[in-house]
């Protein structure tokens, strides 16, 4: 009896320790990704892709592999943007669980959009996310506005587009961009960024007012 009592707390303790370790590594991963380490993103992508495809295919009865891959791409992108924008700074569950939840919501939205109503409109009971996680989903921009934005950015010279993405999408610093793109000085980077951004802004404004 005494041995049994001693065993139970220690199993509980082991489980808690395992969760704590998993969360610590998840938070370390978030920190690394937030610091611009894209290799971490690649590892996450590779590690969970096939499981996601299998799970989502079975859960949503999707046979088309391209649709599943699209959903996985969007899932990882949404996760990355949350981390990059510092909207997601810590996790109380495993990264995989969190990713699958984002994927689940995304697929649910897709089904709703296509008016498929045979799915239950709530989270899967097995995926239980703590309230402490503040997930702000990307708002859908209207299709037409997206086309407008795409057309404007495609008009920019390749180099301008690249440094704008590095700065404002990937959050890279000016010294990093200077080194990566081979600029002579930080000032040259700042000026190029400013000009590119202004050009893009003016082009967009022009298209909208036409």
């Amino acid at each position: 009896m005494r041995a049994e009592v001693l065993l139970r707390p220690s199993l509980q303790h082991l489980r808690l320790c395992k969760m704590e370790t998993a969360n610590q590594s998840a938070n370390a991963l978030l920190q690394s990704l937030s610091g611009g380490n894209m290799a971490v993103l690649d590892q996450l992508y590779d590690a969970h892709r096939d499981d996601f495809l299998k799970w989502a295919g079975a859960r949503f009865h999707i046979k088309n592999r391209d649709d599943l891959l699209d959903a996985w791409h969007d899932t990882v992108i949404m996760f990355y943007e949350q981390v990059r924008d510092k909207k997601l700074t810590h996790l109380t569950c495993e990264v995989k669980t969190f990713l699958f939840t984002i994927g689940y919501r995304r697929l649910l939205k897709m089904f709703k959009k296509n008016e498929k109503t045979d799915l239950v409109d709530e989270f899967d009971a097995n995926i239980n996310i703590s309230q402490s996680i503040n997930v702000i989903e990307n708002e859908d921009i209207m299709e037409q506005q997206q086309q407008l934005l795409k057309a404007s950015i495609e008009k920019l010279p390749e180099k301008s587009r690249q440094i704008l993405v590095l700065r404002y999408m990937e959050g890279k610093s000016i010294p990093y961009i200077m080194k990566e793109m081979g600029y002579e000085s930080e000032n040259a980077v700042s000026v190029t960024l400013s000009r590119g951004l202004k050009k893009l802004k003016d082009s967009l404004t022009q298209r909208i007012t036409q």
């Binding site: 992508y45 892709r49 791409h73 934005l149 704008l164 793109m181 960024l193 967009l204």
Partner: protein
């Protein structure tokens, strides 16, 4: 709008402001009409950049899918538990060993290039010397030489067609903006400049020192493939052009078919060359249809 306000908005977009600075920007965007207008327009520009960034991430993930799918196909194909594949692997190793031994006894490539005239004279000489082809060994050797002669003929014709028609892709919008001391230029600018000046060796070196994200850009890879063709590195060019066509996102995806056809001509693969020329001619947006028709006529 003052310059410092623009700088403030730019820093806001880059996430570089403190919490209080952010709050200040957001307050002004609510209360000051002129600031609000500028701020809204810049936020839209940010959204456009994010869309572009998302597209780049998608391309990155598509590349990863290729790698992952390739790996899992390899694992399936080469399942160690499968006796058939063990046997196949053994046969392959034997063939490879045999080829290596054969190559060891081969003369260098250059010495093997025999012109048509030389081969003709060798065949004729043998026929003349023996009077009649009774010696079976000699007959077999002459048959082989005739076959090699046919292959060489095809190869030489294809190479001629390639030499007559290959011109690295160029249009006026590609003329480099940056000129001056080459050491001050970035790898990208150097690539643009050397490519335009047809200095392909330096262009290739500049491409290879660009960042990973730039090297994955299919538009730049198309020009890189052209530079490789200019250096005679056709096999590498074939792989890159095939990939660009498959990815279907480059602005040069149509022209890639023409250059792929030319590359196949260079290596003597007329059937693949014809296939890609046909695809090229069927596309309405092809820029060099006349040239493609001329090449096709040359093959036929």
């Amino acid at each position: 709008m003052e310059e410092r306000d623009i700088v403030l908005i730019e820093r806001y977009l880059a996430g570089e402001l403190t919490l209080s600075e952010r709050a200040e920007v957001e307050r002004r965007a609510q209360e000051e009409p002129a600031f609000k207008k500028e701020f809204t327009e810049y936020m839209m520009a940010l959204e456009a950049i994010r869309l572009a960034g998302r597209e780049e991430l998608k391309n990155r993930f598509r590349q990863r899918d290729k790698i992952l799918d390739g790996k899992s196909a390899q694992v399936k194909r080469f399942n160690p538990g499968n006796h058939f594949w063990k046997l196949a692997a053994g046969v392959l190793i034997m063939i490879l060993l045999g080829w290596l031994i054969y190559k060891g006894y081969q003369k260098p490539y250059e010495e093997n290039i025999i012109t048509e005239v030389e081969m003709d004279s060798v065949i004729d000489k043998n026929i003349d010397t023996t009077g009649s082809l009774q010696n079976t060994e000699l007959r077999a050797s002459n048959e082989e030489k005739k076959e090699n002669k046919k292959i060489l003929k095809t190869r030489n014709k294809s190479e001629e067609l390639y030499a007559d028609n290959f011109e690295p892709y160029r249009d006026e919008s590609m003329e480099p903006m940056a000129r001056g001391d080459e050491d001050e230029l970035s790898a990208f600018e150097q690539f643009e400049l050397y490519y335009w000046d047809k200095n392909f060796e330096k262009a290739v070196a500049a491409f290879e020192s660009m960042s990973e994200s730039q090297k994955q850009n299919d538009n730049l890879r198309f020009l890189y493939a052209n530079a490789l063709m200019g250096l005679g590195k056709t096999d590498k060019a074939i792989n890159i052009l095939t990939d660009i066509i498959k990815n279907n996102k480059s602005i040069y995806k149509v022209e890639a078919n023409l250059f792929l056809a030319l590359s196949y001509l260079r290596v003597g693969n007329e059937s693949e060359a014809k296939k890609h020329l046909d695809i090229y001619l069927k596309d309405e947006s092809s820029e060099q249809k006349e040239k493609a028709r001329k090449i096709l006529a040359g093959i036929d």
